[in-house]
Symmetry: C2
Subunit: 173 residues, 2 copies
DNA sequence: CCTAATTACTTAACCTGTTAACTATTAGAA
DNA sequence: TTCTAATAGTTAACAGGTTAAGTAATTAGG
Protein backbone atom coordinates (compact mmCIF):
# COMPACT_ATOMS: atom_id res chain seq x y z
CA UNK A 1 0.00 0.00 0.00
CA UNK A 2 2.38 2.68 1.16
CA UNK A 3 5.48 3.11 -0.99
CA UNK A 4 7.81 1.88 1.70
CA UNK A 5 6.07 -1.43 2.01
CA UNK A 6 8.02 -3.20 -0.65
CA UNK A 7 10.99 -1.10 0.31
CA UNK A 8 14.01 -2.52 -1.40
CA UNK A 9 17.53 -1.24 -1.46
CA UNK A 10 17.44 2.53 -1.49
CA UNK A 11 19.93 4.50 -3.50
CA UNK A 12 22.91 5.34 -1.32
CA UNK A 13 23.52 8.98 -0.56
CA UNK A 14 25.85 10.42 -3.10
CA UNK A 15 29.25 11.35 -1.81
CA UNK A 16 28.72 14.95 -0.83
CA UNK A 17 31.00 17.66 -1.97
CA UNK A 18 32.05 20.45 0.36
CA UNK A 19 29.43 22.46 -1.38
CA UNK A 20 26.44 20.39 -0.37
CA UNK A 21 27.74 19.03 2.88
CA UNK A 22 25.37 21.13 4.91
CA UNK A 23 22.44 19.60 3.10
CA UNK A 24 22.71 16.21 4.69
CA UNK A 25 20.18 17.18 7.31
CA UNK A 26 17.69 17.32 4.45
CA UNK A 27 17.49 13.61 4.64
CA UNK A 28 15.18 13.86 7.61
CA UNK A 29 12.01 15.60 6.71
CA UNK A 30 9.60 16.53 9.43
CA UNK A 31 6.56 16.77 7.13
CA UNK A 32 7.38 13.37 5.72
CA UNK A 33 7.74 11.79 9.15
CA UNK A 34 4.46 13.31 10.26
CA UNK A 35 2.78 12.05 7.12
CA UNK A 36 4.12 8.54 7.57
CA UNK A 37 2.90 8.44 11.14
CA UNK A 38 -0.50 9.71 10.13
CA UNK A 39 -0.81 7.09 7.43
CA UNK A 40 0.26 4.33 9.76
CA UNK A 41 -2.37 5.36 12.26
CA UNK A 42 -5.11 5.81 9.72
CA UNK A 43 -4.49 2.41 8.28
CA UNK A 44 -5.73 1.03 11.58
CA UNK A 45 -9.04 2.84 11.31
CA UNK A 46 -9.61 2.53 7.61
CA UNK A 47 -11.06 -1.00 7.43
CA UNK A 48 -13.98 -0.12 9.69
CA UNK A 49 -14.67 3.03 7.71
CA UNK A 50 -14.21 1.56 4.28
CA UNK A 51 -16.71 -1.14 5.15
CA UNK A 52 -19.29 1.65 5.29
CA UNK A 53 -17.91 3.67 2.40
CA UNK A 54 -16.73 6.47 4.63
CA UNK A 55 -13.54 8.46 4.40
CA UNK A 56 -11.81 9.52 7.56
CA UNK A 57 -12.96 13.09 7.03
CA UNK A 58 -16.56 12.09 6.56
CA UNK A 59 -16.30 10.06 9.74
CA UNK A 60 -14.81 13.06 11.54
CA UNK A 61 -17.85 15.12 10.57
CA UNK A 62 -20.31 12.48 11.71
CA UNK A 63 -18.43 12.06 14.96
CA UNK A 64 -18.38 15.79 15.57
CA UNK A 65 -22.12 16.12 15.01
CA UNK A 66 -22.79 13.16 17.26
CA UNK A 67 -20.62 14.47 20.03
CA UNK A 68 -21.18 18.18 19.91
CA UNK A 69 -24.63 18.30 18.39
CA UNK A 70 -25.89 20.33 15.44
CA UNK A 71 -23.49 22.81 13.94
CA UNK A 72 -23.21 25.32 11.15
CA UNK A 73 -20.81 24.62 8.33
CA UNK A 74 -18.18 27.08 9.55
CA UNK A 75 -18.31 25.66 13.02
CA UNK A 76 -17.97 22.14 11.67
CA UNK A 77 -15.04 23.35 9.65
CA UNK A 78 -13.29 24.67 12.76
CA UNK A 79 -14.05 21.68 14.92
CA UNK A 80 -13.02 19.10 12.34
CA UNK A 81 -10.06 21.10 11.14
CA UNK A 82 -11.26 20.83 7.57
CA UNK A 83 -11.26 23.84 5.27
CA UNK A 84 -14.60 25.24 4.28
CA UNK A 85 -14.42 24.33 0.62
CA UNK A 86 -13.73 20.72 1.57
CA UNK A 87 -16.43 20.81 4.20
CA UNK A 88 -18.86 22.14 1.66
CA UNK A 89 -18.31 19.09 -0.52
CA UNK A 90 -18.35 16.70 2.40
CA UNK A 91 -21.67 17.87 3.79
CA UNK A 92 -23.17 17.71 0.31
CA UNK A 93 -22.00 14.14 0.00
CA UNK A 94 -23.26 13.09 3.43
CA UNK A 95 -26.52 14.91 2.85
CA UNK A 96 -27.03 13.14 -0.48
CA UNK A 97 -26.52 9.85 1.34
CA UNK A 98 -29.11 10.79 3.93
CA UNK A 99 -26.68 10.69 6.83
CA UNK A 100 -27.03 14.35 7.75
CA UNK A 101 -29.59 17.02 7.03
CA UNK A 102 -29.51 20.74 6.55
CA UNK A 103 -31.74 23.17 8.36
CA UNK A 104 -32.01 26.74 7.17
CA UNK A 105 -31.70 29.56 9.66
CA UNK A 106 -34.55 32.02 9.42
CA UNK A 107 -32.69 34.72 11.33
CA UNK A 108 -29.73 34.73 8.99
CA UNK A 109 -30.43 33.12 5.67
CA UNK A 110 -26.75 32.78 4.83
CA UNK A 111 -26.34 30.19 7.54
CA UNK A 112 -27.51 26.64 7.64
CA UNK A 113 -27.21 24.15 10.44
CA UNK A 114 -26.25 20.56 9.82
CA UNK A 115 -27.64 17.73 11.93
CA UNK A 116 -27.27 13.97 12.01
CA UNK A 117 -30.27 12.08 10.71
CA UNK A 118 -31.49 8.93 12.40
CA UNK A 119 -29.78 6.96 9.72
CA UNK A 120 -26.55 8.85 10.42
CA UNK A 121 -26.88 8.13 14.10
CA UNK A 122 -27.37 4.46 13.40
CA UNK A 123 -24.24 4.43 11.29
CA UNK A 124 -22.32 6.14 14.06
CA UNK A 125 -23.38 3.50 16.54
CA UNK A 126 -22.33 0.81 14.13
CA UNK A 127 -18.83 2.17 13.58
CA UNK A 128 -17.98 3.71 16.95
CA UNK A 129 -17.18 0.47 18.79
CA UNK A 130 -14.59 -0.63 16.26
CA UNK A 131 -13.11 2.84 16.27
CA UNK A 132 -12.79 2.85 20.03
CA UNK A 133 -11.32 -0.60 19.98
CA UNK A 134 -8.70 0.44 17.43
CA UNK A 135 -7.79 3.46 19.48
CA UNK A 136 -7.36 1.39 22.60
CA UNK A 137 -5.26 -1.07 20.66
CA UNK A 138 -2.93 1.68 19.51
CA UNK A 139 -2.72 3.08 23.02
CA UNK A 140 -1.76 -0.29 24.41
CA UNK A 141 0.72 -1.22 21.72
CA UNK A 142 2.47 2.12 21.70
CA UNK A 143 2.10 2.87 25.35
CA UNK A 144 -0.13 5.38 27.05
CA UNK A 145 2.74 7.50 28.32
CA UNK A 146 4.42 7.78 24.96
CA UNK A 147 1.15 8.60 23.28
CA UNK A 148 0.52 11.44 25.71
CA UNK A 149 4.04 12.66 25.21
CA UNK A 150 3.56 12.60 21.46
CA UNK A 151 0.35 14.61 21.71
CA UNK A 152 2.12 17.12 23.90
CA UNK A 153 5.04 17.51 21.54
CA UNK A 154 2.75 17.93 18.56
CA UNK A 155 0.67 20.55 20.32
CA UNK A 156 3.79 22.34 21.40
CA UNK A 157 5.22 22.26 17.91
CA UNK A 158 2.07 23.75 16.49
CA UNK A 159 1.99 26.38 19.22
CA UNK A 160 5.62 27.29 18.61
CA UNK A 161 5.23 27.62 14.88
CA UNK A 162 1.86 29.31 14.74
CA UNK A 163 2.89 31.79 17.37
CA UNK A 164 5.29 33.33 14.94
CA UNK A 165 2.79 33.12 12.13
CA UNK A 166 1.00 35.80 14.07
CA UNK A 167 4.21 37.72 14.34
CA UNK A 168 4.65 37.53 10.57
CA UNK A 169 1.06 38.58 10.04
CA UNK A 170 1.60 41.53 12.34
CA UNK A 171 4.70 42.49 10.43
CA UNK A 172 2.82 42.32 7.20
CA UNK A 173 -0.03 44.52 8.30
CA UNK B 1 -5.66 29.78 6.07
CA UNK B 2 -6.17 26.80 8.33
CA UNK B 3 -9.62 26.46 9.79
CA UNK B 4 -8.43 26.98 13.32
CA UNK B 5 -6.94 30.34 12.54
CA UNK B 6 -10.04 32.31 13.14
CA UNK B 7 -10.96 29.85 15.85
CA UNK B 8 -13.82 31.26 17.77
CA UNK B 9 -15.82 29.72 20.53
CA UNK B 10 -16.19 26.02 19.79
CA UNK B 11 -19.39 24.23 20.56
CA UNK B 12 -19.20 22.74 24.03
CA UNK B 13 -19.26 18.98 24.34
CA UNK B 14 -22.77 17.79 24.78
CA UNK B 15 -23.57 16.34 28.17
CA UNK B 16 -22.82 12.69 27.66
CA UNK B 17 -25.23 9.98 28.57
CA UNK B 18 -24.08 6.81 30.27
CA UNK B 19 -24.29 5.26 26.87
CA UNK B 20 -21.72 7.41 25.16
CA UNK B 21 -19.55 8.16 28.12
CA UNK B 22 -16.74 6.04 26.81
CA UNK B 23 -16.60 8.11 23.65
CA UNK B 24 -15.10 11.15 25.26
CA UNK B 25 -11.64 10.04 24.35
CA UNK B 26 -12.69 10.57 20.74
CA UNK B 27 -12.11 14.20 21.22
CA UNK B 28 -8.41 13.71 20.78
CA UNK B 29 -7.65 12.42 17.35
CA UNK B 30 -4.15 11.30 16.57
CA UNK B 31 -4.51 11.68 12.80
CA UNK B 32 -5.85 15.17 13.27
CA UNK B 33 -3.01 16.17 15.59
CA UNK B 34 -0.47 14.80 13.16
CA UNK B 35 -2.13 16.66 10.33
CA UNK B 36 -2.16 19.93 12.22
CA UNK B 37 1.51 19.59 13.05
CA UNK B 38 2.36 18.80 9.47
CA UNK B 39 0.46 21.80 8.22
CA UNK B 40 2.10 24.08 10.75
CA UNK B 41 5.53 22.89 9.65
CA UNK B 42 4.79 23.06 5.96
CA UNK B 43 3.55 26.60 6.25
CA UNK B 44 7.12 27.53 7.12
CA UNK B 45 8.47 26.08 3.90
CA UNK B 46 5.67 27.03 1.58
CA UNK B 47 6.59 30.63 0.77
CA UNK B 48 9.97 29.68 -0.66
CA UNK B 49 8.41 26.94 -2.73
CA UNK B 50 5.39 28.87 -3.89
CA UNK B 51 7.69 31.60 -5.16
CA UNK B 52 8.93 29.02 -7.67
CA UNK B 53 5.57 27.37 -8.30
CA UNK B 54 6.59 24.17 -6.55
CA UNK B 55 4.54 21.99 -4.27
CA UNK B 56 6.20 20.31 -1.33
CA UNK B 57 6.04 16.98 -3.11
CA UNK B 58 7.65 18.34 -6.24
CA UNK B 59 10.37 19.83 -4.10
CA UNK B 60 10.86 16.49 -2.35
CA UNK B 61 11.45 14.84 -5.72
CA UNK B 62 13.94 17.46 -6.83
CA UNK B 63 15.74 17.23 -3.51
CA UNK B 64 15.91 13.47 -3.71
CA UNK B 65 17.37 13.52 -7.20
CA UNK B 66 19.90 16.14 -6.18
CA UNK B 67 20.98 14.26 -3.11
CA UNK B 68 20.86 10.67 -4.21
CA UNK B 69 21.38 11.07 -7.93
CA UNK B 70 19.40 9.63 -10.80
CA UNK B 71 16.63 7.23 -9.92
CA UNK B 72 13.90 5.16 -11.47
CA UNK B 73 10.31 6.07 -10.78
CA UNK B 74 9.75 3.24 -8.30
CA UNK B 75 12.88 4.12 -6.44
CA UNK B 76 11.84 7.77 -6.29
CA UNK B 77 8.49 6.64 -5.04
CA UNK B 78 10.09 4.72 -2.17
CA UNK B 79 12.57 7.41 -1.26
CA UNK B 80 10.05 10.25 -1.32
CA UNK B 81 7.31 8.21 0.26
CA UNK B 82 4.94 9.12 -2.54
CA UNK B 83 2.75 6.48 -4.15
CA UNK B 84 3.56 5.54 -7.71
CA UNK B 85 0.42 6.96 -9.28
CA UNK B 86 1.17 10.30 -7.67
CA UNK B 87 4.81 10.06 -8.62
CA UNK B 88 3.82 9.34 -12.17
CA UNK B 89 1.95 12.64 -12.36
CA UNK B 90 4.66 14.55 -10.56
CA UNK B 91 7.48 13.47 -12.84
CA UNK B 92 5.35 14.25 -15.87
CA UNK B 93 4.78 17.74 -14.51
CA UNK B 94 8.44 18.35 -13.67
CA UNK B 95 9.53 16.91 -16.99
CA UNK B 96 7.14 19.19 -18.87
CA UNK B 97 8.69 22.12 -17.02
CA UNK B 98 12.17 21.03 -18.03
CA UNK B 99 13.34 20.48 -14.46
CA UNK B 100 13.99 16.77 -14.82
CA UNK B 101 14.50 14.46 -17.76
CA UNK B 102 13.71 10.87 -18.50
CA UNK B 103 16.25 8.40 -19.82
CA UNK B 104 15.08 5.10 -21.20
CA UNK B 105 16.78 1.94 -20.07
CA UNK B 106 17.89 -0.19 -23.00
CA UNK B 107 18.30 -3.31 -20.87
CA UNK B 108 14.75 -3.22 -19.57
CA UNK B 109 12.47 -1.05 -21.60
CA UNK B 110 9.82 -0.90 -18.88
CA UNK B 111 12.10 1.17 -16.73
CA UNK B 112 13.10 4.75 -17.13
CA UNK B 113 15.52 6.74 -15.05
CA UNK B 114 14.80 10.29 -14.01
CA UNK B 115 17.56 12.87 -13.69
CA UNK B 116 17.75 16.54 -12.79
CA UNK B 117 18.38 18.83 -15.70
CA UNK B 118 20.75 21.78 -15.42
CA UNK B 119 17.74 23.97 -15.05
CA UNK B 120 16.48 21.74 -12.24
CA UNK B 121 19.81 21.92 -10.51
CA UNK B 122 19.80 25.70 -10.74
CA UNK B 123 16.36 25.79 -9.18
CA UNK B 124 17.53 23.52 -6.38
CA UNK B 125 20.43 25.82 -5.60
CA UNK B 126 18.08 28.75 -5.56
CA UNK B 127 15.64 27.23 -3.09
CA UNK B 128 17.90 25.13 -0.87
CA UNK B 129 19.32 27.98 1.25
CA UNK B 130 15.88 29.22 2.29
CA UNK B 131 14.83 25.67 3.01
CA UNK B 132 17.83 25.05 5.21
CA UNK B 133 17.31 28.33 6.95
CA UNK B 134 13.68 27.47 7.69
CA UNK B 135 14.66 24.10 9.05
CA UNK B 136 17.24 25.62 11.33
CA UNK B 137 14.72 28.15 12.47
CA UNK B 138 12.27 25.43 13.43
CA UNK B 139 15.01 23.50 15.20
CA UNK B 140 15.96 26.53 17.26
CA UNK B 141 12.46 27.64 18.09
CA UNK B 142 11.22 24.20 19.06
CA UNK B 143 14.44 22.94 20.53
CA UNK B 144 16.84 20.38 19.11
CA UNK B 145 16.20 17.86 21.85
CA UNK B 146 12.47 17.96 21.52
CA UNK B 147 12.70 17.71 17.77
CA UNK B 148 14.84 14.58 18.03
CA UNK B 149 12.44 13.15 20.58
CA UNK B 150 9.54 13.84 18.25
CA UNK B 151 11.28 12.09 15.36
CA UNK B 152 11.97 9.13 17.60
CA UNK B 153 8.39 8.86 18.79
CA UNK B 154 7.06 9.10 15.26
CA UNK B 155 9.42 6.43 14.00
CA UNK B 156 8.54 4.23 16.92
CA UNK B 157 4.83 4.72 16.36
CA UNK B 158 5.17 3.76 12.72
CA UNK B 159 7.29 0.76 13.65
CA UNK B 160 4.78 -0.38 16.26
CA UNK B 161 1.82 -0.08 13.97
CA UNK B 162 3.34 -1.43 10.78
CA UNK B 163 4.82 -4.35 12.63
CA UNK B 164 1.36 -5.72 13.15
CA UNK B 165 0.36 -4.86 9.61
CA UNK B 166 2.74 -7.63 8.70
CA UNK B 167 1.15 -9.88 11.27
CA UNK B 168 -2.26 -9.19 9.74
CA UNK B 169 -0.87 -9.82 6.27
CA UNK B 170 0.57 -13.10 7.45
CA UNK B 171 -2.73 -14.08 8.96
CA UNK B 172 -4.50 -13.28 5.75
CA UNK B 173 -2.21 -15.33 3.54
C1' DC C 1 9.08 -22.17 -27.65
C1' DC C 2 4.92 -20.50 -25.75
C1' DT C 3 1.88 -19.24 -22.39
C1' DA C 4 1.12 -17.41 -17.66
C1' DA C 5 2.67 -14.71 -13.99
C1' DT C 6 5.37 -10.68 -12.61
C1' DT C 7 7.14 -6.23 -12.94
C1' DA C 8 7.39 -1.12 -14.06
C1' DC C 9 4.68 2.18 -14.96
C1' DT C 10 0.37 4.77 -16.44
C1' DT C 11 -4.49 5.96 -16.45
C1' DA C 12 -8.81 6.60 -14.34
C1' DA C 13 -12.00 7.76 -10.80
C1' DC C 14 -12.96 9.54 -6.51
C1' DC C 15 -11.95 12.35 -2.36
C1' DT C 16 -9.55 16.01 0.07
C1' DG C 17 -6.25 20.17 0.47
C1' DT C 18 -5.60 24.72 -1.17
C1' DT C 19 -6.24 29.18 -3.24
C1' DA C 20 -9.15 32.34 -5.57
C1' DA C 21 -13.26 33.98 -7.23
C1' DC C 22 -18.13 34.24 -6.78
C1' DT C 23 -23.14 34.57 -4.75
C1' DA C 24 -26.24 35.84 -1.40
C1' DT C 25 -27.16 37.98 2.77
C1' DT C 26 -26.37 40.91 6.59
C1' DA C 27 -24.13 44.77 9.05
C1' DG C 28 -22.15 49.37 9.10
C1' DA C 29 -21.06 53.98 7.80
C1' DA C 30 -21.93 58.24 5.19
C1' DT D 1 -31.44 55.06 3.89
C1' DT D 2 -28.40 53.74 0.67
C1' DC D 3 -24.03 52.24 -0.55
C1' DT D 4 -20.10 49.66 0.95
C1' DA D 5 -17.81 46.19 3.61
C1' DA D 6 -17.93 41.96 5.90
C1' DT D 7 -19.74 37.26 6.42
C1' DA D 8 -21.52 32.37 5.25
C1' DG D 9 -21.18 29.44 2.06
C1' DT D 10 -20.35 27.55 -2.74
C1' DT D 11 -17.87 26.75 -7.03
C1' DA D 12 -13.81 26.20 -9.76
C1' DA D 13 -9.25 24.71 -10.80
C1' DC D 14 -5.32 22.24 -9.84
C1' DA D 15 -2.33 19.00 -7.04
C1' DG D 16 -1.78 14.85 -4.37
C1' DG D 17 -3.58 10.40 -1.80
C1' DT D 18 -5.72 6.07 -2.74
C1' DT D 19 -7.53 2.08 -5.03
C1' DA D 20 -8.30 -0.46 -9.09
C1' DA D 21 -7.62 -1.45 -13.64
C1' DG D 22 -4.86 -1.25 -17.74
C1' DT D 23 -0.44 -1.53 -20.82
C1' DA D 24 3.86 -3.05 -22.15
C1' DA D 25 7.93 -5.59 -21.29
C1' DT D 26 10.22 -9.32 -18.94
C1' DT D 27 10.59 -13.63 -16.47
C1' DA D 28 9.28 -18.31 -15.41
C1' DG D 29 7.05 -22.77 -16.03
C1' DG D 30 5.68 -26.44 -18.86
Amino acid sequence: MSPSEKSKKLAPLRPVTNDTEHLRQFDRSLPMSLLKAREAVMKKFMPALKAHELTSQQWRVIRALEQRGDMEVSELSDVCYILKPSMSRIVQNLQARGLIERRGNSEDRRRSTMALTDSGRVLFEKIAPASIERYQYITEKFGYGKLELLYELLDELVATLSKDDDKQDDDKS
